[in-house]
């Protein structure tokens, strides 16, 4: 019984932290800020440097 309660407690703690973390990211729009200001500019630099097989 004690181990079940301990497991449930751990699960609740993990769930709460996961919710707080993901909801914080969601509400503050952090993933979009990261994509727009960091990831995409790096990718664009890479795309612009590509040598492509351009032909008809």
């Amino acid at each position: 019984m004690k181990s079940i309660l301990k497991f449930a407690g751990k699960l609740t703690a993990i769930g709460t932290i996961a919710f707080a973390g993901t909801f914080g990211i969601y509400m503050l729009n952090l993933e979009n800020k990261l994509i727009y200001y960091v990831v995409r500019p790096i990718l664009n630099k890479h795309y612009n440097a590509q040598v492509r097989d351009r032909r008809i």
Binding site: N29, N32, Y36, Y47
Partner: protein, 535 residues
């Protein structure tokens, strides 16, 4: 969960001044104030009240889930694709696109819209992941030789009779849908096409597909390439480039242009039959009618539900509005057509909610809308959230769009001969064809559709680069004036956001609404804003 009603009401009351809809109604802000200028990056997400914010958050998690499922299909190849294809990088903007589309939505409208969009996201990520896993560019995969790549405008239903083969559209993932997500990606490919001498005033959709071909940016799989003459003669030209570059045996399934003419169906049917024989020859498989009938039944169910949806669109009680049926139907027709059962499951759930809303006389948007509009013509794909803006800014509720009316006849599921007749009609009436190309009667039918859905406003997308449609503009104006309809022509350049910008479109509508209609906006923060650098 009635026990939670009281604390939720309490919290909603305390936090309501963060709700942009409440702010605009009370003169303290509006839907646009949470954005950074130009970039379209929101400082924080929209507070919609406790229940709706949690619903939006849950679907945000589900979108992450769908993306994760795509990545686990072939993690290395997905990373390679991200580094190889510029268009694939644009999919990172999917979260922002969903936020833009859902802006200002609450209650049933939010739920149903999320159901529709999540089905698109989950089906598309699965199919795109499968395609990239088997892309010849990355060494191929176990099903590379079992894929049939086809021009998206012909739809995959007729190809479902090949058991063990997977029909996948050539352009939907790499060209068409990325325009909804990122307004800047296709102009790059248009420039590539123009650098080879393509005139700058060509159709932006065909120009961007041509650019993708010249830039060697289309995924490749399968033994053959199936193209078509649809939607129009410009599409035929870009198909030629795609066929030349693919370097595989190809077959162009030509459909009758005047598709309302019974003579045309015979011609279309013959070409579909020849297409089937061509695939049988190259893949060494026999067309399996039982397999086809199974998928045709799925499609029939989807179309039966679609037609029932139209009944609810005619009333004031439909929670499904705006871009959500248009985008869903567009994707479902081009890329699914009875090949993904999750669309059937979603349709059943959505129609159930629509039935319930009708029975309870539910009024969407708390009744805060002034017009019921029909959206017609080739859309500004780079402004997918225009219907959302129309509702939030001017109270114009988009009821029905051109794409919703694509091939909706039932297919016989017992007799191959009768099924082929039905299939010819079904396939002829694809994207932009049922109400776009096909003659003056087809064009004029817009006014009949508008009356059917009790619309008081007609919004016609005026694709400035479409040589076929330009001639119709004047005729449509004359027709509308004679009939006494309110018509707004929405200038756009289909996939090129530089020629007619999103703000140009808004300014055009703002002018019409203030000068012609003499109305005031519902949310003044939405009238004019700079989103030129936004996805």
């Amino acid at each position: 969960m009635k026990i939670l009603d009281k604390p939720i009401r309490f919290l909603d009351e305390k936090l309501r001044h963060f709700d942009p809809v409440w702010q605009s109604e009370n003169g303290t802000g509006g839907l646009r104030i949470r954005y950074n200028d130009k970039t379209g990056v929101a400082k924080y997400r929209e507070w919609r009240g406790m229940r709706d914010t949690m619903l939006d958050y849950a679907y945000w998690l589900k979108t992450w889930g769908a993306l994760s499922l795509m990545i686990v299909q072939a993690p290395v190849k997905i990373v390679k694709a991200l580094l190889e294809y510029r268009w694939f990088g644009s999919y990172l903007g999917a979260f922002m696109m969903l936020d833009r589309l859902m802006e200002g939505l609450r209650g049933e409208e939010l739920k149903v819209s999320h159901m529709q969009m999540h089905t698109v996201v989950s089906s598309m990520t699965q199919k795109l992941g499968f395609l990239l896993k088997n892309d010849e560019r990355f060494g191929g995969g176990p099903d590379t030789q079992n894929i049939i790549q086809y021009t998206e405008t012909i739809g995959p239903l007729w190809l479902t009779g090949f058991k063990g083969l997977y029909p996948l559209p050539l352009q939907t993932y790499s060209e068409f849908f990325v325009s909804y997500i990122d307004q800047h990606v296709l102009p790059y490919y248009i420039d590539v096409a123009e650098s080879f001498g393509l005139p700058a005033d060509a159709c932006a959709l065909c120009a961007s597909e041509t650019g993708l071909t010249f830039d060697d940016a289309l995924p490749s799989a399968g033994k053959v390439l199936i193209t078509s003459n649809m939607t129009c003669n410009a599409s035929e030209s870009k198909n030629m480039f795609e066929r030349a570059r693919a370097g595989k045996p190809d077959f162009a399934v030509a459909m009758a242009m005047l598709h309302n003419d019974p003579e045309g169906h015979t011609y279309s049917r013959k070409n579909l039959e020849e297409g089937i024989a061509f695939i049988e020859e190259h893949y060494g498989v026999k067309y399996d009618w039982d397999e086809f009938f199974k998928h045709a039944e799925w499609m029939n169910e989807q179309n039966t539900i679609e037609i029932e949806k139209w009944d609810y669109f005619r009333t004031e009680h439909s929670p499904l509005n705006g871009a959500f049926e248009i985008i869903y139907r567009m994707y479902e027709w081009q890329a699914v057509n009875g090949t993904d059962y999750k669309c059937n499951k979603n349709d059943r759930k959505v129609i159930e909610r629509m039935r319930r809303c009708y029975e309870s006389k539910y009024i969407p948007f708390d009744g805060k809308y002034r017009h019921r509009a029909i959206l017609w013509g080739p859309a500004a794909c780079y402004y997918a959230d225009l219907p959302t803006w129309l509702r939030n800014c001017w109270g114009i509720r988009v009821i029905f769009g051109l794409e919703c009316s694509m091939g909706h006849n039932m297919i016989n599921t017992e007799d191959p001969d009768l099924a082929m007749d039905d299939l010819a009609i079904f396939t002829e009436k694809n994207v932009m064809r049922n109400v776009g190309t096909g003659g003056w009667e087809t064009q004029k039918s817009m006014f009949e559709w508008g009356k059917l859905f009790n619309c008081d406003m007609y919004m016609i997308y005026d694709n400035i680069a479409c040589k076929g449609m330009n001639g119709f503009h004047g005729l449509m104006e004359e027709c509308a004036t004679a009939m006494g309809f309110k018509v707004v022509f929405v200038p756009n350049d289909l996939h090129d956001s530089r020629t007619v910008t999103r703000q140009d479109i808004r300014t055009h509508i703002n002018t019409y609404m203030t000068v012609v209609m003499g109305e005031e906006p519902l949310d003044t923060t939405l009238l004019e804003f700079d989103d030129s650098e936004a996805y």
